[in-house]
């Protein structure tokens, strides 16, 4: 028996009524990155990068250059107003190379292959016009792909995540630690930078899996054992932390058995995303919404999917999209729940779990909290079923639709059928007008 909320076949709010399957990859597709309004790139374990048109699903380019799987991908657009905008992407691969691609011509611009380890993350600092590569060490590169500076060997495992902070700082997640680096202009050269380790934060108990910047003042990290820490981006202090927030802290009714029954995999913070108010965390199979102001979880869906949630994204209209290893993509809506003391949410969940004996204390505690703040709930408004294997990532293209990539080697473009139909009518009549068929012919 599944505890996962299901929605059934009638999904009025689900706009995606048309799909396009994009075939090309020969292995797991892990990364999707948006290039501009209507283009995106996909990359995965086959080492090939594809460029797609998000509207038509047309395959624009097939970029070959890496011999092993892609480990990181980042868009690298030139911001210079002087020259016309050039869309570049950076890709790092397990073959220890980084390649710069031109998305307009589909050609390889440059290739760097002097790495000692696999580059696991790439970050572009637009402001400084440099980009950073994180492997076993951190390297700083300029646009011409000159190595400006690099750190000493940090760890064998390598940097797993890299986020830009204010004041020329970056934070790198290395194992259980967070290391703050600062880029300092070098004295001898005008263009050069030096990188300096500023601080190490060792508050996490386990490997840091996700690192996301909320705004200029805060960033958030999540670890494998389910710790969520909110940091001040300026002085790198811990603002708030939510340890084990999947059970006791928010929901005091949690039974010890539950904790035991949960394997670390089910509590790891797989992915984080945020808007100004909230941080959305994909924790195990569930989704949690953490309010930064209230410093607590305001809504959750403990088993949002049948297996681990791999990626979540906040989309407009208070909606949230999540994808999971179970091959499905689900659309959630964050709703304010009416005060209905008769059915407190946590109890309901535990009932579903089969732990029917919700004690009174828990109910009271829940009620107490409901008194001061409006209760939120994540409502399932639609699900997208198409992939036959884990959905690794997705890319939200606004009204153009949604692109999902999966371990079944496919990319699916989900589109609003109504809109597409209208667009087709429009092009139809444009074509008719062009070919002059609108005139009556006899």
């Amino acid at each position: 028996k599944s505890s996962v909320q299901t929605i059934g076949e009638e999904q009025i709010q689900n706009p995606y009524t048309e799909l396009l399957v994009l075939k090309g990859h020969q292995d797991i597709v892990r990364f999707l990155v948006q290039i501009d309004d209507c283009r995106f790139a996909s990359a995965g374990d086959d080492g090939i990068i594809f460029l797609w048109n998000a509207q038509t699903g047309e395959k624009l380019f097939e970029l070959h250059g890496h011999t092993q799987k892609i480990t990181a991908i980042a868009p690298f657009s030139s911001s210079d107003a002087s020259e016309e905008k050039k869309n570049l992407i950076l890709t790092a691969s397990a073959d220890r190379t980084v390649i710069v691609w031109d998305c307009t011509s589909g050609r390889q611009v440059q290739k760097v292959s002097c790495f000692h380890s696999t580059v696991k993350c790439l970050t572009v600092l637009q402001r400084l016009d440099v980009w950073l590569s994180g492997g076993s060490d951190l390297c700083v590169w300029n646009r011409k792909l000159d190595l400006l500076c690099k750190t000493s060997h940090l760890t064998d495992a390598g940097i797993s995540a890299l986020v830009e902070l204010p004041k020329n700082c970056v934070v790198a997640a290395v194992g259980k630690e967070l290391i703050i680096f600062r880029l300092i202009p070098s004295n001898d050269e005008s263009e050069g930078w030096n990188v300096l380790e500023v601080k190490r934060l060792v508050d996490h108990q386990d490997n840091i899996l996700s690192l996301v910047s909320v705004n200029d003042l805060t960033f958030v990290t999540g670890s494998h054992v389910g710790e969520l820490i909110v940091w001040d981006a300026l002085d790198w202090t811990k603002q708030a932390s939510e340890c084990n927030f999947w059970d006791s802290s928010v929901h005091p009714d949690a039974q010890p058995e539950i904790k035991l029954s949960q394997s670390p995999n089910e509590t790891s913070v797989q992915h984080l995303t945020s808007d100004e108010e909230c941080v959305f965390a994909a924790v195990g199979k569930g989704i949690y919404v953490y309010n930064l102001q209230m410093k607590r979880v305001i809504a959750c869906q403990r088993t949002a999917h049948d297996s681990s949630v791999l990626h979540i994204e906040k989309v407009p209209n208070r909606q949230l999209i999540s994808c999971s290893e179970d091959g499905s993509v689900r659309i959630w809506e964050l709703r304010e729940k009416q005060q209905l003391p008769a059915e407190p949410v946590p109890t309901g969940f535990f009932n579903m779990w089969g732990f029917g004996r919700a004690n009174k204390q828990a109910n009271q505690a829940a009620k107490k909290m409901q008194e001061n703040t409006p209760m939120h709930v994540l409502e399932l408004v639609g699900d997208l079923i198409g992939h036959s294997s884990a959905v690794q990532m997705f890319l939200y293209f606004g009204e153009l639709g949604l692109a999902t990539c999966s371990a079944d080697h496919l990319i699916i473009l989900w589109k609003d059928g109504e809109r597409e139909s209208r667009l087709r009518s429009l092009t139809l009549f444009q074509k008719l007008a062009q070919s002059g068929d609108l005139q009556l012919k006899f």
Partner: protein
């Protein structure tokens, strides 16, 4: 499918009139042709009493120089077919109108015998006594031992229905030309072979003679020649001469294709590139390996193996030896090909002419609906644009038959093979396929005329005009004793055909040599000499049989009248003028008042005692005007003349027919042999060569579909699923049952503009989302194995995209349907009994649906705002109103039309050359489980 031939015969006039009163009449060109003689109260299916044979057949005859005209073989090769019909007599008849035995030999001024490359002639001939009408195709084959090296043959399509011959003249001519071309090619090859052998013999003889002479010379020391020596010398000289002659002949026969190339309007036949590429692969598939080799090597190889023998310089008199049979005259491969082609012709044109005509009409109309016809029509049906294509199809069939396989299952590659074989035949230059070249022009012409002049012209008219364009001679000869009133035309044409075939032949032949005018109408029956205005187009058509005449420009082609621009004029030309023209052409009918207007009683007495005269093949316009939605059929036909197929003997007459009828029966278990309504169905309908398989498929599918809608109460939602683009999965353990259901339901599946219908008959692997894009109807295997579990798991996972018809437990899981459209399409209480009829019913309903979808798709304001400020809601409202009020659609029917409209859009927007990425559209609607 616009018109359903089965329906035609059932229509009673009273019912028809009721309908006509209540509804505004359809445009003429869209109306179902009615049986033109319904008002006469005669049974349209009554057999023609006068004909002595039961069905159409093809007769091949020869004018043997030893025994005169003789029948060689009939197709189908069955004694029952011809019945009591006197083949010998009829052979005499048809051979007697052959004019072209222009004898070869030593033409004045030429040192050596010349081969004439004679064009075929095409004649329509009637014999009222026998009740037989024939399209006769004369050709000559080369035979070294024959007089003048030529042997006249003819192939005749004999039918009791004059109008079939007349109206299908063009088609018959095209098909027979192909057969003839094939036969002649084989003959040239065989002839060249024979010449090679003969040359070897002569060479050998010369050597032997030479040696003997030398020996004699040496032995002879007397200083004067003995008579023996002189004889030898003479013999040697005659052998030398014979060698030169034969070498010349060989050169001539080999130069034939080159000669044709030199002609200005000769377009050598070139296979398409795709076929070209496939050549290499298919050569080895040829039945006999030597065919794959180029002609020269082939000849060499044969010559090497041939041991020359001593022959006499003077050939034996022709009566001394047995003449070669037709089979010996022709290369065996080409002979078989020809026979296959002839069988194909027989299959194509069998049955009632109304089938052929309705088929052609609906085909032509469908071609006009280029925007929507891809949805439900057979792709093969639409693609088949030119007879050329048909030819390929039938060649493929022929090839198959050669391999002793079932012709219906001929796959496309087979077609390639036969073409390849043509390419690699004895002649190293592309073989002349004159018909191909002509065909390529005709369809264009036909279409343009049809499009521009729809109101005035039946497209059949255009077809016939096409026939006139082809520069063929059309002769209409009365074979019975001719009336004395005939006068000579300027072309000396109208010689009465004398009872003596020899005389007739020689006379006609001699006339041919001077005349360039090919048309003769020998009329003996004034009441029948009704010559519609179309005829005037035919008279100047020039004959062009002799290669010598080819240089003369005027004689080549008669084009002006064919110009679509001229068509307008044609309509305006008064009959008076017409009369004058015809008069000047052949000086007949002057005394006939019926020339100006057809006599109403014509229909009742079609077969006068003294001879039958028919007008050049064409559908008459009078007929069309006279009858509402008129059958494009000749006016002068009697009710009793037309059909004859009903005889039960016909059904068991030959192997082919019994096969097909068996097929019919097998797919019609619910067939009730009641009354006349089913009779027409029993007539084996003529099958288009390329479509024969699909014809069978249609029947089968129709029958299965009929059974499905009777058996399953939930047929409507299932069909709705298909029409609205929701994939229907037929799940079952037994492949046969599943496939049957899939076949049945496939007729409801709209094609997405791809090549084939999106139907997968049998699938064993788990479904994937890609499958729903590709296929809209899937037969899925249910097994108990672990793999089967996966299959079911995938099915339940993707259940939102599919409707599932469980063939084992007889359940259906699919969205609700409350519309009205499908109930008309699939009424379980329908009176339709036969599969093919039901198929046509479905097609007509679907065509209606297509037209709705077309309107909906191409109405600008239904999709786009009128003004810039108009909000989207208004457009949506307008759209909904249109669908509901204008198109009268309710509930789920909207979705069907919307889906079809979407397909139309996609098709229209599809860039040529680029394949549109397949879309999957779906709805989030709940499904329900239906049970029996």
């Amino acid at each position: 499918m616009i018109s359903a031939p089965d329906v035609v015969a059932f229509t009673r006039e009273e019912e028809l009139e009721d309908e006509l009163c209540s509804e505004p009449p359809l445009p003429e060109e869209y109306s179902v042709p009615l049986f033109p003689f319904a008002s006469h109260g005669t049974n349209p299916w009554a057999k023609v009493a006068s004909s002595k044979f039961t069905r159409d057949f093809i007769l091949i005859s020869e004018f043997s120089e030893q025994v005169g005209p003789q029948p060689l073989l009939t197709i189908p090769d069955d004694a029952k077919v011809s019945g009591t019909f006197d083949l010998n007599y009829f052979s005499l008849r048809i051979m007697s109108v052959d004019y072209q035995a222009s004898f070869v030999g030593h033409p004045p001024g030429s040192a050596y015998p010349k081969l004439n490359f004679v064009e075929d002639s095409k004649v329509v001939l009637g014999d009222s006594k026998e009740g037989a009408f024939a399209y006769v195709h004369h050709l000559t084959l080369y035979d070294l031992e024959a007089r003048g090296f030529v042997r006249p043959f003819c192939m005749a399509y004999i039918s009791a229905d004059e109008h079939k011959i007349m109206q299908q003249f063009q088609e018959l001519s095209a098909e027979f030309s192909k057969a003839s071309e094939c036969l002649k090619t084989g003959n040239r090859k065989a002839f060249a072979n024979e010449l090679e052998k003969k040359l070897k013999d002569l060479d050998y003889t010369r050597t032997v003679l030479h040696n003997e002479t030398e020996i004699q010379k040496k032995a002879n020391d007397k200083g004067y020649y003995t008579t023996q020596a002189i004889e030898k010398a003479n013999e040697l000289a005659s052998v030398e001469k014979s060698i030169i002659e034969h070498q010349d002949l060989l050169k001539q026969i080999r130069s034939y294709p080159y000669r044709k190339l030199k002609e200005s309007d000769f377009h050598p036949y070139e296979p398409e590139s795709a076929l070209d590429q496939a050549d290499a692969g298919c050569d080895q598939d040829l039945p006999t390996s030597d065919l794959a080799e180029p002609g020269e090597t082939l000849l060499c190889a044969q010559t090497l193996s041939y041991t020359p023998k001593l022959i006499k310089a003077k050939s034996a008199k022709c009566f001394d030896k047995k003449l070669k049979t037709l089979e010996e005259l022709c290369d065996i491969y080409f002979f078989t090909q020809t026979l296959d082609q002839l069988h194909q012709i027989e299959r194509t044109f069998r049955g009632d002419v109304c089938y052929l005509l309705t088929d052609q009409i609906s085909r032509a109309l469908l071609k006009q609906q280029s925007v929507t016809n891809f949805l439900f029509e057979d792709v093969s049906f639409l693609d088949e644009k030119t007879p050329e294509k048909q030819y390929r199809g039938c060649q493929g069939l022929g090839q198959d038959a050669l391999d002793r396989k079932c012709p219906e299952e001929s796959p496309a590659p087979k077609v390639v093979i036969s073409l390849g074989s043509y390419k690699s035949s004895v002649e190293c230059v592309p073989i002349k396929m004159e018909q191909e070249m002509e065909d390529s022009q005709e369809p264009k012409l036909t279409e343009s005329v049809t499009f521009e002049q729809q109101e005035n012209l039946d497209y059949l008219d255009a077809d016939i005009k096409g026939s006139i364009s082809s520069g063929e001679s059309i002769e209409v000869l009365g074979t019975e004793k001719s009336a004395s009133g005939l006068t000579k035309s300027e072309s000396q044409a109208s010689l009465p055909v004398s009872p003596s075939p020899q005389a007739g032949r020689s006379k006609v032949g001699s006339r041919r040599t001077v005349s360039e005018d090919s048309i003769e109408v020998l009329s003996t029956c004034p009441s029948e000499s009704l010559i519609p205005e179309d005829f005037k187009a035919s008279y100047p058509s020039a004959i062009n049989e002799e290669p010598y005449a080819d240089d003369e420009e005027g004689g080549l082609r008669f084009t002006p009248k064919l110009n679509p621009d001229d068509v307008d004029e044609r309509g305006d030309v008064s009959k008076e003028e017409n009369l004058v023209q015809v008069d000047s052409a052949c000086c007949i009918g002057k005394e006939s008042p019926s020339f100006l207007e057809p006599l109403p009683e014509l229909g009742q007495k079609p077969c006068d005692e003294d001879g039958v005269v028919r007008i050049p093949p064409q559908p008459s316009r009078q007929g069309e005007q006279g009858l509402r939605g008129g059958f494009p059929c000749h006016d002068g036909v009697a009710g009793g003349l037309l059909p004859y197929e009903l005889d039960s003997r016909y059904l068991t007459g030959s192997r082919e027919v019994s096969k097909s009828s068996l097929d019919e029966c097998s797919d019609s278990t619910s067939y009730v042999s009641s009354a006349a309504s089913t009779c027409s169905d029993r007539t084996p309908s003529p099958a288009r060569p390329a479509c024969q398989a699909s014809e069978r498929h249609k029947k089968k599918a129709g029958q299965n579909a009929l059974r499905f809608i009777r058996q399953y109460p939930f047929a409507h939602p299932a069909i709705y699923s298909l029409l609205s683009g929701r994939t229907l999965v037929v799940l079952g353990e037994e492949e046969a049952i599943v496939k049957k259901l899939v076949t049945a339901l496939s007729i409801f599946v709209p094609s997405g503009g791809l090549d084939a219908k999106p139907v997968k008959h049998w699938l064993t692997a788990p479904l994937h989302v890609v499958d729903f894009q590709k296929w809209k109807l899937i037969g899925l295997q249910r097994t108990v194995s672990p793999a089967g579990v996966n299959v079911l798991h995938a099915l339940s996972r993707y259940s939102r995209y599919v409707s599932i018809l469980d063939a084992d437990s007889k359940t259906l899981r699919c969205p609700l349907y409350k519309g009205t459209l499908v109930s008309r399409l699939a009424d379980h209480r329908t009176q339709i009994k036969r599969g093919s009829t039901y198929y046509m019913h479905v097609q007509s309903v679907l065509t209606q649906l297509c037209s709705k979808a077309f309107l909906f798709t191409f109405c600008h304001h239904l999709h786009l705002p009128i003004g810039e400020r108009e909000p989207e809601e208004c457009v949506v409202n307008r759209r909904m109103n249109f669908l509901k009020l204008q198109l009268g659609l309710a509930n789920e029917d909207l979705k069907i039309v919307q889906y079809l409209a979407e397909l139309l859009k996609l098709r229209y927007l599809q860039e040529p050359g680029r394949r549109a990425s397949p879309l999957l559209r779906f709805d989030y609607v709940p499904s329900f489980l239906y049970k029996i």
